[in-house]
Symmetry: C2
Subunit: 302 residues, 2 copies
């Protein structure tokens, strides 16, 4: 198997994870989670979002969380900014990177952000420009790149089309996200290959949900086409907003275990990562949603 | 990705699964499970074992279960037979195949069956001969081919050694089992490659446990070296005898979903399979241990 020798993981637990948790989490706990993640060796963390607290009350403490972090020079802290107002609020907290988003599915774009794919890109253009002018990196999260809860399967051409639009407004790198976790290896590779017509391998990351248990196998499929950046969520934080009780983000622990088992360098200390997952899961009053965490905790208990 | 065009799944739920369940299951429920599996398109089912009921009370109803099945001509019914006494009892129930077992780990062999690897092979030799003389196929289950709960990592050479011993006594095909689910793709491929020095590709099956969430990714890795026979367990029946509450056998549902998503033919009807998993899980008073089942049941509920 010809695979990358190292992988960079972007932990999206504090933002993408906790945003989907019903239970509110105090800012101090979020800050502690970020600290534990960076102590475990994560060097990219999606911290929070600057969205209206009317829509996402879970992230209303965004500035407080950003201010509370003892930053490490080798860690990149990113925040989600859907519009200029959010970007300006984010700017004051000095993020290293902002994240904007778009869907490969027209129906999802309409239902999720109430505008067409093209309109969403037009709206993001000034945000991207403002970020680039301020010397801040920009990542584009491409959702529904394999399947959509409203449209079903999404053709790779739609993913390529969205990637091209993102490239055209200056977005520097993109995530290929299987938002509802329906993807399987060949479909995921097709979505990535469509993206690679617009972005270099170094600028493409995989973001796979484990709703149907396929996240790791899709990660391996992505590795096999050369992708070496991936998003994942400590303790599998996040659930799936489209199916009650279903699994969403793949657990960072499970990805790290697989990569380490294959001799791929991640820079991550698995035991510390598991402890970070236990910490936040305790705060949420439940068990980590990670089979690796469960197996290791079982072994530790013996 | 160069992958086999079709895959044969051997459902081990009725035997390997239910043997590890604490709760006793009535023979009629087991028979119904076998019927539901064959209706869903499984054409190989590990039905029961002929072991002393003192050791494995869960399988004391072996003859009753075998007698209760309305057999289909295209389905292979296999049973576990650890010794001649068990084989003779099994023979009366007309199995299509018997299964014997051995470990790639010396410590596991000692702790599990109280003899060395070589001694276990010597004990199985007359069982294999009797089966072959009676025209019954013989499969050898090779456990701990990647890791062992007592020894840790197992070198591929140990797997090759066991495969060679099995071949020498006339065992026709073998399973490469990751009994404690610690394997990752490259390690699993190495275990398979060691086996392929003694057995042809058509005679090797993969048996991966999901304890660390790696079963599907290991299945893909095995497919990539040409393996096209796999064992799995409907509803993830079985748990893990070496870690309380941990996951054991990969759920057949999850394997089928992945294979179908990649366009690989299995002959299995996923919805009927999910229903079979719900049936046995209801009998056990719990939810199916399959993410695909959970996701599909969520969708059905909407």
């Amino acid at each position: 198997m010809n695979l990358p020798r190292r992988v960079k993981l972007i932990d999206v637990g504090p933002r993408d994870g906790l945003q989907n948790e019903k239970q509110p989490v105090p800012a101090a706990v979020k800050v502690e989670l970020v600290h534990r993640l960076q102590d475990a060796g994560l060097n990219e963390i999606e911290v929070t979002s600057f969205v209206s607290p009317k829509w996402v009350p879970q992230m209303a403490d965004n500035a407080e969380v950003m201010a509370g972090i003892h930053r490490q020079p080798d860690v990149r802290y990113s925040v989600l900014t859907p519009n200029l107002q959010g970007f300006e609020a984010a700017l004051k907290t000095k993020p290293d990177e902002i994240v904007v988003f778009g869907a490969a599915s027209e129906a999802f774009s309409q239902k999720n952000i109430n505008c067409s794919i093209e309109e969403s890109i037009e709206r993001f253009a000034p945000v991207v420009k403002a970020a680039r002018d301020a010397g801040i990196a920009v990542r584009g999260a491409m959702s529904c790149t394999v399947g959509c809860p409203y449209e079903g399967e999404i053709a790779p051409e739609r993913v390529g089309y969205l990637a091209g639009l993102m490239k055209s407004i200056g977005i520097q790198r993109v995530d290929v996200a299987d938002t509802i976790g329906v993807g399987t290896p060949r479909k995921v590779q097709a979505a990535i290959e469509a993206t690679l017509r617009h972005y270099a391998l170094n600028d493409v990351s995989g973001h796979f949900h484990d709703t149907y248990g396929q996240a790791l196998v899709n990660t391996l499929a992505a590795l096999q086409v050369g992708v070496w950046n991936f998003q994942s969520s400590v303790a599998g934080l996040g659930g799936c907003p489209y199916a009650k009780g279903a699994t969403g983000n793949v657990a960072t622990e499970d990805v790290v275990y697989m990569l380490q088992g294959m001799g791929i360098e991640t820079g991550i200390h698995l035991d510390k990562l598991i402890d970070a997952g236990v910490f936040i899961s305790n705060a949420l009053g439940r068990q980590p949603n990670s089979l690796v965490s469960r197996a290791v905790l079982n072994k530790r208990a013996v």
